[in-house]
Amino acid sequence: MIEVKNICKSYNVIQKGEGFRGALKGLISRESEKVQAVKNLSFHIQPGEIVGFIGPNGAGKSTTIKMMSGILTPSSGEILINGRDIHKYRKQVVQDIGVVFGQRSQLDWDLRLGESFELLRHIYRIDKAKYEETLNIMDQILEIKPLLSKPVRQMSLGQRVKGDLVAAMLHAPSVLFLDEPTIGLDVGAKYSLRKFVKEVNEERNTTVILTTHDLGDIEQLCDRIIIINNGELIEDGNLEEIVDRIAPYKTLVVEYYDEKAPEHARCELFFHEANVAKYRFMKKDITAAALIQALSAEAQIKDVSIEEAGIDDIIRIAYGQLKE
């Protein structure tokens, strides 16, 4: 159970003067400017949920993840994980949290993967039997065992992310934060990552919060999405509900035999080029079948297809990059 209550975070960005004089001045007085990265964010997450945390670049996703995992302290507001304030009881609460940053590793560059895990085993006080058991389970999902003797500095990105995922799960946390875990991964590696998230969620009831720019991750994993932009919450809810609410239309793509495209009162012809026309219609106004019938009465149709508004459109609408 995660409760985020009115958290704000502003960064102090230090203004550096130009050149040598600026550097000297910087030693004495440091003018800083506040950048509001997260503004008054609140939400609750139930145990066992998989929540997709999405928003454009610079929206404040990573900042929020860092606050939820105890790395950054919010400027104001509070975050409770399983009922305890993470910043007051950081040492105890992080025992129950796993974190993976896709672009940064928690593995020790100088050690072999196995040695790195061994270090974590001591840090999180995991007993040997439990550790072996977790490793076996992880091996079934991610085939990690062949990598154990490999130095971390020699691993490929995909191998390293696998290593990081296992590292985050060794102490069997009840909450797992993944910040852009699929960044830079190939199709196969993405597939095993998604399999990993699903299995961990189903078998151990682990709560997963992930940020991603890969819509495939969202569609395949998340029951719920939270959209933020400019540090503010924009949407929070079930994926289909949000789609129905902010993009309750379908698109009919029709290919005609000639270039004339008829119009229809209950839909909008928003695209017409050569033989192809696209109509946007509300589900409540007209059915696809009725629309095709009406159109075919006016011109000869060669081919049709229907596009549902997908998460793609949702995100663009929510980000304000597409007008409704």
């Binding site: 960064y11 102090n12 230090i14 990573s62 860092k66 995992s69 105890g70 790395i71 950054l72 302290t73 950081r90 040492k91 105890q92 992080v94 025992q95 949290i97 974190v99 940053f101 672009q103 940064r104 590793s105 928690q106 100088d110 050690l111 040695e115 270090l119 001591h122 840090i123 999180y124 006080r125 910040d179 852009e180």
Partner: protein, 263 residues
């Protein structure tokens, strides 16, 4: 506790496998030892003793001073600076540990590794080219070790307090160099304060640096005993208490101010 001793052990292994910087420091210390010993030999040409200290003791002072510099190696400031620069400080903060205890364990591990990689070669070189360190008495060696231990903690606390600046992403590389050389200069590690003018000596004795090098060194060569020894150790204890207090207050606030660079 077990966590930190494991961290320390891992650090020993790591330092043993990656011998960065080790040879550089041996060469550096050799140069310092040689030049200071030439200086002493020149100074003592016309005198048996200066300020009640013989040439043999002064050469011992020089060799042991280089040895102490190995024991007083700290990495905590560099460690914080680099972690903040690279953003890996996030990893340190997401674990159920006290980060300063981890830094201390790592520094301890480093020093243990340096005992073999640095201290032994330096003693060896010192014995061959300068002088086999003389022992004043068994008791003075014991008191020396106690004083050195205190110096180790004082030195580490100074480094940690200094290193906390780096949390707010100040570029510290140049400052760290300045601090290192300033400490060696102001602590009497090369030229003891009894050669300095009276007023400067009094000023420097008000800072903690003298208690890092000169005090344990004078104890070793037998120049500091009786009342002055008790006084010296007491001042060390006071500094230890004061710095521990400052450290305790600051470390609570420091972690809150951490800058995490990069997405």
């Amino acid at each position: 506790m077990k966590i930190y001793s494991y961290v320390c052990k891992m650090q020993i292994l790591r330092s043993m496998t990656y011998k960065f910087n080790v040879y550089g420091n041996i060469i550096m210390q050799t140069i310092i030892m040689l030049t200071t010993s030439f200086f002493w030999k020149a100074l003592y040409q016309n005198a048996e003793t200066v300020q009640g200290v013989e040439i043999g003791s002064m050469l011992t002072y020089t060799v042991i001073s280089s040895c102490i510099s190995v024991i007083l190696t700290t990495n905590v400031e560099q460690r914080i600076t680099r972690s903040v620069e690279k953003g890996t400080i996030a990893v340190d903060l997401m674990r159920p540990v006290n980060i300063f205890a981890v830094f201390f364990a790592e520094d301890l591990g480093n020093v243990v590794a340096l005992l073999f990689q640095n201290l032994l070669p330096i003693i060896f070189i010192g014995c061959i080219f300068i002088q086999v360190p003389l022992l004043a008495s068994g008791a003075s060696v014991l008191m020396f070790l106690i004083s050195l231990c205190l110096a180790f903690f004082i030195n580490w606390l100074l480094a940690a307090i200094f290193g906390m600046w780096a949390f707010t992403a100040i570029n510290m590389h140049a400052l760290l160099q300045v601090k290192r050389h300033l400490i060696r200069l102001l602590s009497g590690s090369m030229i003891p304060l009894w050669f300095f003018p009276e007023w400067l000596r009094i000023v420097l004795e008000a800072f903690p640096f003298v208690y890092l090098y000169q005090l344990p060194l004078s104890i070793y060569i037998g120049k500091c005993d009786g009342m002055s020894l008790i006084r010296g150790i007491t001042i060390q204890l006071v500094w230890l208490a004061v710095l521990s207090f400052i450290f305790y207050i600051l470390q609570k606030r420091a972690a809150r101010k951490v800058m995490i660079q990069g997405g």
